[in-house]
Amino acid sequence: MKLSGAQIIIETLIEQGVTDVFGYPGGQVLNIYDELYINRDRIHHTLTAHEQAAAHAADGYFRATGKTGVCIATSGPGATNLVTGIATAMLDSVAMVAITGNVSCDLIGRDSFQEIDITGVTLPITKHNYFVSRVEDLADTIREAFQIARSGRPGPVLVDVPKDVQAAKCEFENKEVLPLFEIPNAEEEQIEKAAELIDSCRKPYIYVGGGVIGTGIYDDVIKLAEKIDGVIGCSLMGISAIPTDCDRFLGMQGMHGHYASSVAQNNADLIFAVGVRFSDRATGNKKKYARGAKIIQIDVDFAEINKNIGVDVGIIADVADAFKRIADKVRAKKRPEWMQMINQYKNDELAHERKAQDRYKDMGKGGVPTPKQIIDIINENKASETVVATDVGQHQMWAAQFCRFEKARTFSSSGGLGTMGYGMGAAIGGATATKKRTVLITGDGSFGMNLNELATVVSYNLPVTIVIFNNGVLGMVRQWQTLFYQRHYSNTTLERKTDFVKLADAFGLKGIRTTTAEEFEAAFKEANATDGPVLIDCAIDCDEFVLPMLPPGGSMDDIITEKGE
C-alpha cells in the first residue's frame, strides 16, 4: 500500500502504541496535521499555547505513565521552541520522540523561511536525532527513534522531516515494535562482590534514583532494607519510587534533602546506589562526599559508573535484575547500632523542623501559611495516584521535602536542567495521561514563564489544580542572595501587579486567592470537587527558606539547618 510520508508518520505512531501527542501546527507540518485531522479518532492531539509546553507535556506524559511522550512542531521557531523541553527530558532520562517539520529538501541550506538546522541544534541534547531525506527511510526511522528513546536509559530522540518527504509516497507495511536493545546481565562475580560488601558493612544506606522508577522493584528495595537493617534515601529523581510512609525511608538527600537522609548517607559505611548518578546537587563537595563509605553502583548506563563519584563495585546491568540478585545473596543481619544512630538523626530532624515552626510563630506572621502547612493540606486532600508536578525553585524543594507519595510515577519535576516553566506542560501531560486530577505546585516566578498554558488546560477542561506559592519574589535566588550575596536582592523582587485570579478569569477558569491555611484548604477542596482546572493563588512569606541547605560546593560539615538573623 502506498502512503504519503505524513500518513506513514501517523501509522507508525499508532503502530508504536501512541494514543496521545502534543504539538502545534505550522507551515512545514501541514501535511502531518492534515493526517492528524483525518485520524482524530485514532490519535488524540493536544494543542498547547506554545511548543515548549508540548515538549514538557510529552515529558510529563512519560513520567506519569512510562509511555514514550510524543510532541510535534513545525520548522524554525516551532522546532527551537521545543529545545528547552528536549533538554529537560535529556537531563532527566525521559523517553520522548519529537517530530519536527522542515522546509523541502530543495530549500535546505538556503536560509529559507522558517528553516533551521534542528538536528544540529539538538545534537548535544538528544540521545540521537535524524534528518529524514527520503520517504522510504521514514517508517524505519520513526521505529528506531522509539527503540532508542525507550532502550536502556531513556532519552529524547528527534526526527526532522522535510515537507516534501511528508508529501512523497512509498510502500508501507506495518511491522512489529522493535525490541529494546539488550542489556548485558551483571556478572556473578560482581554480584558476589557487592553482596560481600553489604554483608561486611555496619551502616548500609540504599540510595535510589530515577533509574528505579518504572522497574517495579520498590518492594524489593524495602525488603532488602529490612533484611540488612539499613535505610533508604533517594535523589530528587527517585522521589515516589518508595512510599513516603515506609519507616526505612528517610527521603531525599542532598543540597535540600531531609536532614536525616543526608546525615545518614554522609555517615554510612556502605552506599548501595541504584539507578542514580551522583549529581553535584546531590553530593555537594565530591572530595568530602561520604568519605567513610564503600560504594556499590548499579546503572543501566555504563557511562555513569565512576563518572561523578568513584565506586568500589560498579555494575552495568538491568537495575531490577542486578538488584534482586544481590538482595538474594546478602545475609539477613541486625545492625542495632546503626538503627540507634538513625533514630538520633530522625530526632534531630524533627527538632530542626520544630524550631523552624516556632521561629515562624515568633515572627508574628501567623496569618500566612507556611509552605509545609500548605503541602500538608495538599497531602491530606490528594489521592494516592495523584500526579504532583512542580516548577523550579523553592516551591519545588518544599514539594520534594513535604509531599507524601504512595505510588511511583506520581512526581514530575525538572531535576537535572531545573527548568522554570516546566510545570504547566508537565501537568498537562500528567492530566492527559491519567485523566485524573493533577496538582501543579508552582511559584509566581516559574508560573510567569508558561502561564499561557492556562489556555490549554481550559480548552481541554483538564483537571489540574494549580497552586501558586506566591511570595512576590524569586525565592530560591533570593535565598542565595540572602546567604551569599549580602542581601543584594538584584532583580528577584517581582514588583508585578499581576492579579492571578483575574488572569484565571480571563482565561476562563476558576481562580481563588488564599491568605490563610483555612482558606487554602477550602479552595483546594473546592478544586477537587470541580470538573476542570482551578487556580489557587496562595500567599506565602517572601523570606521563607528551604532548609536544610548544603551550601554549593560544601559538605555535611557546612549544613545550614536554621535561618540566621
Partner: protein, 165 residues
Amino acid sequence: MNNKFVIAVYVENKFGVLTRVTSMFTRRGFNIDALTVGETEHPEYSRITISMSGDGYAREQMINQLRKIHSVKKVEYLDENSLTRELLLIKIKNELKNRQEVLSAIQIFGSKIVDYSVNAICVEITGEPSKINAFIDVLKPYGIIEMCRTGIVALERGEGSILGK
C-alpha cells in the same frame, strides 16, 4: 598522570556522524591532540583515530561517552604496542648555505622530496609521531615555511581486527 593514548572508533559512514563525535568532545570538555577519519574495509563504516592525553579517568570517560553515541559501533583503546603512523608534509627554505645539511637530514630520516624549487624544498615523511617530531626539530633551524601533519592512524599488531572483537 597525563599520558598520551590512542582510541580507535568505528562509526556509521553517514552524513553528520563526525559532528556527533566532535560535538561530544566540546560538550564534555575533552581536549584532543589529533583526529583522523577515513574509509575502512567495510564501506558502511568509517574509522576515526583519536589521540589525546589525559589520565585514566579521562580515558575511561572518553571511551564511555563515545560508546554512548548511537552512530558509534565500536570503540577500542589502542595500547603503546600498537602500530601508529603519521604523515607530514613540510616546506623548508632552500638556501645554499644549508642545502647539504637539509638534504642529508632528509636522507637520514628516510623521507622523500616531493617538490623542489629554487627557494624551497617540500618533503614527505611518514612514521611514528616521535619520529616526525624529531624530524621537525632537526629542520627548524633551516627555516620551516609551512607544514601539515595528518594526525595519526593506528592499528593493533597481529591478526585481530577491532570490529571482530
